[in-house]
């Protein structure tokens, strides 16, 4: 499967979705005005990946900040991963800065709403 690699800008994150090397990562910031446009190719990629996922998928969220528009799109990403978790192993590593209790709270909220294996990692 093709690798999806998006390089960060001042208001969008680095995204690596690479099934060959089993690397799935979101980092930096997600603050775009048009979050839907930004996340659509990501959702499409995961949709395709879900047809034949790796035995284990570990997704690293290493975001410093995200806006509420992105929050909704991240929820969609996690729901897709939940679908995959029905047939394969999926784990979410939710990284947060030790000074940022809001980022931890956001991750905990997702973990309550979506039945996925979350690990919270303080940076």
């Amino acid at each position: 499967m093709d690798i999806l690699k998006i390089v960060k800008t001042s208001d969008t994150p680095n995204v690596t979705l690479d099934s060959n090397n089993n690397i799935f990562e979101f980092s930096y910031r997600s603050l775009p005005e048009n979050a839907i446009d930004f996340y659509n190719p990501i959702l499409d990629w995961i949709e395709e990946y879900s047809k034949n996922p790796n035995p284990e998928t570990i997704v690293n969220f290493k975001l410093e900040y995200f806006n509420t528009a992105s929050a909704k799109q991240i929820a969609k990403v996690l729901l897709q991963l939940f679908e995959i978790s029905k047939n394969a192993k999926v784990k979410i590593n939710w990284h947060y800065d030790k000074n940022d209790s809001d980022m931890l709270a956001s991750g905990q909220r997702y973990s309550k709403l979506i039945n996925l294996d979350f690990e919270f990692i303080e940076e």
């Binding site: 005005e33 048009n34 900040y65 509420t68 909704k72 929820a75 800065d97 000074n99 709403l113």
Partner: protein
């Protein structure tokens, strides 16, 4: 009417009045560092780009800003103690007719005659004489021991094409506050220029006084779009770099407040490039007050009021439930209608939201929002 007391409401409304007159004003009062200087320049550059001005004028404004910001930083770094009275100041204001660029810093009274003499000398020279004088000072190299403050002033005068305005206001027995006020490229006669320069500087000294009393650190009044809000966030990061836990929270809140204006605000003016808005930060008793103001069309007012009342009433648990149900509601696929912004602000600030609506005309109201941190 707001359920919560809206601190500085008079100030907010007076800023709003100013907003209707000026196309842009940006004020920063605080510690100056590289990140702050860069973000101020970037933010102003964004605004300059969107304006119909000759590129020569834009370059001049930019050059004067660079020089002014360097001056303030240099003076700040000489001080042992930085307190409320001697924080550096940077102001850029743009009206239909012209730009006004002002910097302020405290200095010892003993330097008054030196600075006054230098500026008087600069103001007495014409364009060609300034060029000669610049070279002369450059060659002498040691006009001031501050690494070229004299050169900076000459350069600013050359770039502005006008006289430099200045003023000293006593702080105490030893210290004075020095304002340097530049109005680039005004071709009017000298009498009119003097009048404009005096009035506009009076105005800034007055505003500065209010800023000191209310401990206001940053004011932005201009077009809000994704680019300018990123610039403001960058300034906040620079300003808050010493307080990491507050920095994150403030970043989130300012981001949502400003993105709300970009998405839901309205633009009744004929200027393009976003929605007009004001944003300011003040500090009081260790708390931060984050304020925004923008136009909103009448048909959105009731829903917004309802939403604000609702989130202010809810308990923490109810707020979490409300957020969760909006987050997982995918019926409407529209970035503008996530329904999360206001709830998120209420949760992250942990305080009730203060707000105020003021009717403007048949189509618009002015909406002010204040969040305490």
């Amino acid at each position: 009417m707001a359920e919560n007391k809206f601190a500085n409401l008079d100030f907010s409304l007076s800023l709003f009045d100013a907003m209707q007159k000026d196309n842009l004003s940006y004020i920063y009062r605080g510690i100056f560092n590289q990140q702050i200087t860069d973000s101020i320049l970037a933010l102003t550059e964004t605004n300059l780009q969107n304006e119909e001005q000759s590129s020569k004028m834009k370059k001049r404004v930019y050059a004067i800003m660079v020089e002014g910001l360097q001056n303030v930083t240099r003076h700040q770094n000489e001080k042992k103690i930085i307190d409320n009275d001697n924080l550096g100041l940077f102001v850029i204001k743009r009206t239909e007719e012209r730009y006004y660029i002002t910097t302020g810093n405290s200095t010892e009274k003993t330097s008054i005659p030196i600075i006054s003499k230098l500026i008087k000398k600069i103001n007495s020279l014409d364009k060609d004489e300034l060029k000669v004088y610049y070279k002369q000072v450059l060659n002498e190299g040691k006009l001031s021991n501050k690494g070229g403050a004299g050169l900076g002033l000459i350069d600013m005068a050359r770039k502005s094409g006008n006289k430099l305005s200045y003023r000293f206001i006593d702080i105490d027995d030893i210290n004075t506050y020095f304002y340097l006020h530049t109005i680039p490229s005004l071709t009017n006669d000298e009498n009119e220029f003097n009048k404009i320069a005096k009035e506009s500087l009076d105005n800034i000294v007055e505003i500065h006084n209010t800023l000191n009393i209310e401990d206001i650190r940053l004011i932005y009044n201009g077009m809000l779009n994704q680019e300018s809000l990123m610039g403001l966030l960058h300034t906040i990061e620079g300003h808050m770099s010493d307080i990491p836990d507050m920095k994150n929270k403030m970043f989130y809140i300012v981001l949502e407040m400003l993105q709300n204006i970009v998405k839901h605000g309205n633009n009744p003016t004929n200027h393009e490039g976003g929605n007009p808005g004001i944003f300011f930060i003040s500090q009081k008793n260790g708390e931060y007050l984050l304020n925004t103001g923008n136009y909103i069309s009448i048909d959105k007012v009731d829903d917004l009021k309802e939403k604000l009342k609702c989130v202010n009433k809810l308990s923490d648990t109810e707020l979490q439930d409300y957020y969760a149900s909006s987050l997982m509601d995918f019926k409407i696929n529209d970035d503008k209608k996530t329904g999360l912004g206001i709830i998120d602000l209420r949760i992250k600030s942990t305080n009730k939201l203060s707000y105020y609506f003021k009717p403007i005309n048949k189509k618009y109201q002015f909406f002010a929002l204040q969040i305490k941190l």
